[in-house]
Symmetry: C2
Subunit: 100 residues, 2 copies
């Protein structure tokens, strides 16, 4: 069952949801930017420079989170995002590397 933040467990990540999340240029950019970072890097949601309003940005991160692509954590006043690299590699081997 997804946690209270809407993060699905590994075995709940569905390929159709992952593709729906990636079928948007801005969300795809976020995932590719995270993929270009070392594993485990946490980035602030504003650091991707998405040219959208705060509420639209929150929506995009929600889609990525609920699809299982990213994990969001609170660090003080900041909301940080990490790529669920190992989880995605376990569930759909090779998928992430095809994005880079």
């Amino acid at each position: 069952m997804p946690d209270t933040e809407g993060h699905p467990e590994v075995n709940e990540i569905e390929l159709v949801d992952v593709f729906a999340a990636l079928a948007d240029p801005l969300r795809l950019k976020v995932v590719r930017d995270l993929l270009a970072e070392p594993d485990g890097v946490e980035r602030h949601c504003t650091s991707f420079g998405l040219p959208v309003s705060k509420s639209t940005r929150s929506h995009h991160f929600k889609v990525l989170r609920e699809a299982g692509l990213i994990r969001q954590v609170d660090r003080g006043n900041s909301r940080m995002a990490t790529l669920r690299r190992a989880d995605l590699e376990t569930r759909f081997p090779g998928l992430l590397s095809s994005l880079s």
Copy 2:
């Protein structure tokens, strides 16, 4: 430029369009079914057993065709579909194998 049937050339295939096409369980099934066949196999559009009307089926195949995932060819009265395996592997190495 896409041909008259809407097939994009290899270098026109866009990842966002591929993901949008795969973000539907029936279209994903068609691609996975084709992927399970030997390379080059042509299948009739009705052979996938999609539980939808003829017009909806045509729509799904149009989305797959215009995204560059499949090629459709006429064989007499039949409309056949093949997976653009080599083109996709050239453009996005590893993507198809992550679906199987």
